[in-house]
């Protein structure tokens, strides 16, 4: 969490003014999410090869950020909570990305062994 430039400490005295979401924003976000769900289903129909994965993940990230920014009030509340979400997500992506990168690098050795086993018909 390298967020700690001497930002003013969180509001600690007096009740923080609760951020109330108007119904229009709530319903708007819900509609957007339904639309994006439909979009991702339609997008999966088209055969874009490798791009299918990228498109599906992009739409999922979009939906997730709608939920986070609107339903979870991140767009209006204390910025540090957004920092916590983003940093956790980054570390998760680091774990997924690097482990997948390494396993794909040594995959040929695994394949060769499986081929040898299959060859021996065991």
């Amino acid at each position: 969490m390298t967020d700690d430039t001497a930002s003013a400490p969180a509001p600690r005295h007096g009740a923080a003014i609760p951020h109330v979401l108007p119904p229009s924003v709530l319903l708007g976000a819900a509609v957007a999410l339904f639309a994006l769900t439909a979009l991702t289903v339609v997008a999966s129909r088209l055969d874009l090869g490798q791009a299918n994965v990228v498109v599906a993940l992009a739409i999922a990230c979009l939906k997730a950020s709608v939920v986070a920014l609107v339903f979870m009030h991140l767009a209006w509340e204390n910025r540090f909570q957004l920092v916590v979400l983003v940093i956790s997500a980054l570390f998760a992506v680091l774990l997924v990305g690097f482990v997948v990168f390494d396993t794909t690098q040594y995959q040929p050795d695994l394949r060769a062994k499986e081929a040898q086993l299959r060859g021996k018909g065991r």
Binding site: M1, T2, D4, A6, S7, P9, A10, R12, F80, I87, S88, F91, L94, L95, F98, V99, F101, D102, T103, Q105, Y106, D109, L110
Partner: protein, 556 residues
């Protein structure tokens, strides 16, 4: 508890936390962070003794090249549980849970941590995990090393001990997550008025950085234990090769947690060293911001280096290259901290009390521990030295050496505040010297055995390594003696120790403004934040009255 009228701070209110409620229930269901800290201290001391006994039996078995004291299987179970008990029940919870829980709210001038119930839950989770580890021991133990690498650990023929061990990992992991969560929430939102981020004592910066690691790394250990558990029962085919799994994948998951975990172990120790070195040199810490930022840097970069445990385990060459580069980067903040500590000693008035002697021992041992990491970070030498006694000596230098000496320094430093009694200075110093000598006699010969090519986790070894192993065995007993002397000195001081004043060391951070032992509610009203290392105006009134700050001077 007599508070010295007039000169004593007017902040204390009510009787001390030790007298506020009696009987087991008032301890086991307490929400008071100080009592939870004491309960953690008792539990981890038990874990240290249990793990220590295993270590002594291991060393005795290695007295002769053919072993023979215990059978190979028993030896393998002993070194596995020695590792598991020491890592998960002593070194990781050690400083944060025992000393951190006690000291953090006091240093913030707060009444308690942000979530007292969550703190009690994390203590109960820790005790459940400890019970599960003991159950593993009683039910026949596991013998795959604390790293639990499949396919060996998850084989059918190994029995069900592994399931107990994996559930213990899962439970102790969540205890660690909740402690980290509590610390970050408290430091972030409950600082008193007038205490900005750069007025925090450095022990709190260290606990904040440790909290980041606990929250982000430990869940991956939890999910790995869960996957291992289900793989063992239902053959999921994720880690076991005969069902299409990949054992190296387990190593990625395991080390993604376990390397940041070694920074969970060392960062709080560095925090204690920063406190003690400044107070006992009577000088403000040198390079406060660099030390604070080094803690955060270590915490963050610590997540990018886990692959240096897997250079020879089948990891791809490009991944090994990247991990080796990043491992060298993470060494730099530790060097910065060491130089800053040395600069703090410069022109100070160094008072060689027991905490300071332990910290000086820390400098020497952490120096060697850190520098030997360079051999293991470099690809060429790691291929030769991996999984040999060089690695065993390296991580014991950092864990038993640096972390344990800093823990003992912190324990002696805050002992008067925790118990209201002064520890015996002679027994403290004798134990420090014994620990320092015994430690080196145990682990320096292991460096030499490792360089000569003795692999680790060997119940029997080639006769060529006998000299080193015998030296190491003797050293282990000297180290054990030193720890027993330290423990005895502290326990005796509980009964016959001199009454401790509020501020025996002349420190400036807020915990020393409360009486020793502190009141149940810590502070009558929240004090203002102050400069943690500003000793102007503090005078030693007398041995039993301790240091007192003349009114009005030195307030931050």
């Amino acid at each position: 508890m007599t508070t010295i009228a007039g000169t004593a701070p007017a902040l204390a209110a009510g009787e001390s936390y030790l007298e506020h409620g009696h009987g087991l229930r008032s301890w086991l269901l307490t929400l008071d962070h100080k009592r939870i800290g004491i309960m953690y201290l008792a539990a981890i001391t038990g874990a240290l003794l249990l793990g220590g006994v295993f270590a002594l039996v291991l060393r005795l078995n290695l007295w002769r090249p053919a072993g023979g004291l215990v059978s190979n299987d028993v030896y393998n179970k002993l070194f596995t549980l020695h590792g598991a008990v020491m890592v998960f029940l002593f070194v990781i919870p050690g400083i944060p849970a025992a000393l951190g829980n006690f000291v953090l709210p006091l240093q913030l001038g707060a009444k308690d941590l942000a979530f007292p119930r969550v703190n009690l839950i994390s203590w109960w989770l820790y005790m459940t995990g400890a019970a599960l580890f003991v159950a593993t021991l009683v039910s026949g133990g596991i013998d795959s090393g604390w790293t639990l690498y499949p396919p060996y650990s998850l084989e059918e023929s190994r029995g069900l001990g592994i399931l107990l061990a994996l559930s213990a990992l899962f439970v102790v992991g969540f205890s660690s997550i909740l402690t980290g969560l509590n610390f970050i929430a408290t430091i972030h939102t409950m600082r008193p008025r007038g205490m900005g981020w750069f007025d925090l004592p450095l022990f709190l910066w260290a606990l904040y950085a440790t909290g980041i690691i606990q929250i982000i790394a430990t869940p991956v250990l939890g999910i790995t234990a869960a996957m291992g558990f289900l793989e063992r029962l239902f053959h999921l085919g994720i880690f076991m090769p005969e069902y299409g799994g990949d054992p190296v994948l387990f190593q990625h998951f395991f080390w993604f947690y376990s390397h940041p975990a070694v920074y969970i172990m060392i960062l709080p120790a560095m925090g204690i060293v920063s406190e003690v070195v400044s107070v006992f040199s009577r000088k403000p810490i040198f390079g406060y911001r660099f030390i604070a930022m080094s803690s955060i840097a270590i915490a963050v970069i610590g997540f990018f280096v886990w692959g240096h445990h897997m250079f020879v385990s089948g990891q791809s060459r490009w991944a090994s290259l990247v991990f080796s580069f990043l491992t060298f980067l993470v060494a730099v903040p530790s060097a910065i901290k060491t130089f800053n500590w040395l600069a703090t000693l410069y022109k100070g008035a160094i008072d060689l009390k027991t905490p300071m002697i332990y910290v000086l021992a820390f400098f020497a041992i952490f120096g060697v521990g850190g520098l030997t990491g360079l051999f293991l970070g470099a690809l060429a030498t790691d291929v030769a030295l991996h999984d040999t006694y060089f690695v065993v000596a390296h991580f014991h230098f950092v864990m038993v050496g640096a972390e344990l000496t800093a823990f003992l320094a912190g324990l002696h430093y805050w002992w008067p505040k925790m118990t209201g009694r002064m520890y015996g200075e002679t027994s403290g110093r004798v134990s420090a010297v014994l620990v320092f000598l015994g430690f080196h006699l145990t682990f320096v010969p292991q460096f030499l055995a490792g360089v000569a090519g003795m692999p680790r986790r060997y119940a029997t070894y080639a006769p060529a390594f006998q000299a080193n192993n015998r030296l190491s065995t003797v050293g282990a007993f000297v180290l054990a003696l030193g720890l027993v002397v330290a423990l005895a000195g502290l326990v005796v001081s509980l009964f016959r120790g001199q009454r401790a004043p509020a501020n025996p060391w002349g420190a400036a951070s807020l915990e020393w403004t409360t009486p020793s032992p502190p009141a149940h509610d810590n502070f009558a009203e929240t004090p203002r934040g102050n400069k943690p290392y500003d000793f102007t105006g503090l005078r030693l009134v007398s041995e039993d009255a301790g240091w007192v700050r003349a009114a009005g001077e030195g307030r931050g």
